[in-house]
């Protein structure tokens, strides 16, 4: 399979009074065509900022550095106008909180058509009506929703409308930022089923951002774990759950409630470091149970492929560090 999205050393820094906020600090990722990648992390770990950086929607005082290539085109070097055309037609985003991202004074059909018209799609009235109907149908909504206003829809229906808008121009990549975080479990499952079905049918690639490991386990092929602006680990979903390598991922997975394991509570003590002028070294150093004292906190570990398709940023898997540890003992 070929690569659709290649991110190389992507950085999103915000220069503010208090210092430099390194929200996304040197991330490299690849996404294969037609696959689903999940990005998990705690709040403030930079998941959403990374998505916005891919779409180049970071505004000053924020800056983007690095390379983001979509199907061979480097998005970071595109002109503003070219980038504007790329959004929606090539990369679309399903934003967080469908409750608040639809325009309350516009009918659903106008909101769906707005993007199309803006991207130069010209349609007759009957064509546009048909297009809206078809789009609503693909997200399992009734055609009469087209003439409704957002307040007339339930949370799940609103979220489906945002999905319809995202896929309106058949983009190559859809970035879904916590698309179901405000929905009940039953509705969440139904919306996810729709998104997964569309992803397969249309052959688009998907990046699913979230904090719910359960949802990830059910929906994605590959999982990236972010921590304080860095990638801790990236692996196929089954491998990640069966054999996590990074100490953070290990703790995170063992803290999850699974069926048949009641009353066991393993949390991760401590809090993530501040991303404003972060300390040098591994971002997980302070909370890490297997840290190498006075070593891991000097320079950040390299993010590298330890096993086929399994990337980790941790000194435990670097031979040079192991020598160092052995020498210390």
């Amino acid at each position: 399979m070929s690569k659709l999205l290649e991110i190389e050393n992507l950085k999103a820094y915000f220069y503010v009074k208090a210092g430099t906020v390194k929200a996304v600090d040197g991330i490299s990722l690849e996404l294969e065509k037609g696959s689903k990648l999940g990005i998990v992390g705690e709040s403030g770990s930079g998941k959403t900022t990374m998505a916005l950086a891919i779409l180049r929607m970071i505004r000053p005082p924020g800056t983007i550095q690095g390379k983001v290539s979509l199907d061979g085109v480097d998005l970071v070097t595109l002109s503003g106008e070219e980038m504007r055309k790329t959004r929606l037609s090539q990369i679309a985003m399903i934003p967080q909180g469908a409750m608040n991202c639809l325009n309350p004074v516009m009918r659903v059909k106008d909101q769906i058509l707005e993007g199309l018209i803006d991207h130069g799609v010209r349609m007759s009235k009957s064509d546009s009506k048909e297009r809206v109907r078809a789009l609503l149908e693909t997200v399992d909504l009734n055609a009469h929703v087209a003439d409704m206003y957002p307040h007339e829809l339930s949370g799940g229906m609103k979220q489906r409308v945002t999905v319809a808008i995202a896929i309106a121009m058949r983009p190559k990549l859809v970035i879904a930022d916590e698309p179901t975080s405000a929905l009940d479990v039953v509705i969440q499952r139904q919306v996810m089923d729709t998104i997964t079905r569309l992803q397969k049918e249309l052959g688009v690639s998907m990046v699913l951002i979230g904090h719910d490991m359960g949802l990830m386990a059910q929906s994605v092929d590959r999982l990236a774990v972010m921590y304080a602006g860095h990638l801790a680990e990236v692996a196929d979903i089954r491998e990640m759950f069966a054999e996590p390598l990074h100490p953070y991922t290990k703790l995170l997975i063992s803290s999850l409630p699974v069926l048949g394991k009641r009353g066991v509570f393993l949390g991760i003590p401590g809090v993530p470091p501040s991303v404003i002028n972060p300390p040098p070294g591994c971002p997980f150093y302070v909370r890490c149970p297997s840290r190498i004292e006075n070593f891991c906190n000097i320079e950040a570990p390299k993010y590298q492929e330890i096993k086929p398709h399994h990337f980790v940023a941790c000194y435990l898997y670097e031979p040079s560090a192991r020598v160092k540890e052995g020498g210390k003992k």
């Binding site: 039953v186 386990a217 979903i237």
Partner: protein, 338 residues
């Protein structure tokens, strides 16, 4: 023995009078009791609109029931005298969902802890008050010197939520009601917070009502569960049994929709009938979504039928061959655990 708190045939409607067609019934003939010496964690689970928060508001006396009675130690909470009222406020404590909204951003977090000490006259001196505050914070795993004297925005959501738990503890309550305490807390801190709630429940031997929509944490932390749907109990009993083998079609739908964090445990078959339009429904509330509905379901409201040896109940006619449990006796399903 008189239970600590009891809801007796409580109805709560919004947007109209009871019985009017416009009115939205949030809680429908709810009877439920919490026994004082049964240190169980009971989950009240349901989707949005199921009435779980309404139940909490009624228990705390923030809403007045449209019909029925809320009792504290056998006495209607709206007919308590002043001393009893103070006793009630002190003994029934809550932890709310949003760790951001419970703080006044202009005050230091100490305020949240010192106000109850002052109001209930728990300490005779400033030093004693400080000692109580530090003790409570230590109990929930916070370092007092790093917490006191700070403003809410300087603390993380998990820390703030733990301070809220500490606040409830200072008062040595007889009942703790936790409304989605972990839904806005990050995964890595969630387990720690739940563990603390569980430890407090075990160490101080106080019953906890854990209100949530998240069945995975409910399964993890609680002893018993009550599943609500549109203001009625649909299924209740031992949490392990209900999550591993749900009987009511609604609970089955819920349980099968849980995204278990395990790629080898995929979503179950979600059996939900395409929503039918049911007008003037006199029967089961789940009728419009139920895949097993038959004639009887639209004719009358099913009672709570006993499942197995009567250790759990389901409000569904599929189990009509079993015995019926009166709603008032619901708490008999939640005997004290060791």
């Amino acid at each position: 023995m008189t239970p600590l708190m009891e809801l007796r045939h409580v109805y709560k409607v919004f947007g109209g009078k009871l019985g009017s067609p416009k009115a939205n019934v949030a809680l429908d003939d709810m009877s439920f009791a919490v026994e004082e010496d049964y240190p169980n964690i009971i989950t009240i689970a349901g989707e949005s609109g199921s009435g779980k928060t309404t139940m909490l508001m009624l228990l705390l006396g923030f809403y007045e029931p449209s019909l029925g009675e809320v009792d504290f130690r056998g006495k209607n909470i709206y007919k308590l005298n002043k001393d009893e009222q103070i006793d009630f406020r002190r003994n029934v404590q809550a932890v709310f969902q949003d760790p951001f909204a419970v703080y006044n951003p202009y005050y230091k977090v100490d305020n949240l802890l010192s106000i109850p000490i002052k109001n209930f006259k728990l300490a005779s001196s400033k030093d004693e008050a400080y000692r109580m505050m530090s003790e409570a914070l230590t109990k929930v795993g916070l370092r007092p010197e790093e917490t006191l004297g700070r403003f809410p925005h300087q603390l993380s959501g998990g820390q703030r939520q733990r301070i809220a738990v500490a606040r409830a503890l200072i008062l040595h309550p007889k009942l703790l009601v936790a409304d989605e305490p972990v839904s806005m807390v990050d995964a890595s801190l969630r387990a720690t917070l739940l563990k603390q709630i569980r430890e407090l429940n075990r160490d101080l031997k106080i019953p906890v009502l854990y209100i949530t929509h998240d069945l995975t944490t409910a399964y993890h932390v609680s002893d018993y569960i009550m599943v609500l749907y549109h203001g009625s109990v649909m299924e209740a009993g031992d949490v392990e049994k209900i999550i591993s083998s749900p009987k009511h079609p609604y609970t089955q739908l819920l349980v099968n929709s849980i995204p278990w964090p395990d790629p080898n445990h995929p979503w179950g078959e979600a059996v939900e009938a395409t929503r039918r339009v049911v007008t003037g429904n006199q029967g089961c509330k789940f009728l419009s979504r139920c895949p097993h509905a038959f004639e009887l379901c639209s004719a009358s409201v099913p009672p709570l039928y006993q499942i197995g040896n009567g250790e759990s109940v389901a409000r569904c006619f599929l189990y009509r061959s079993s015995g019926v449990l009166e709603q008032e006796k619901l708490s008999s399903l939640f005997p004290a655990r060791e």
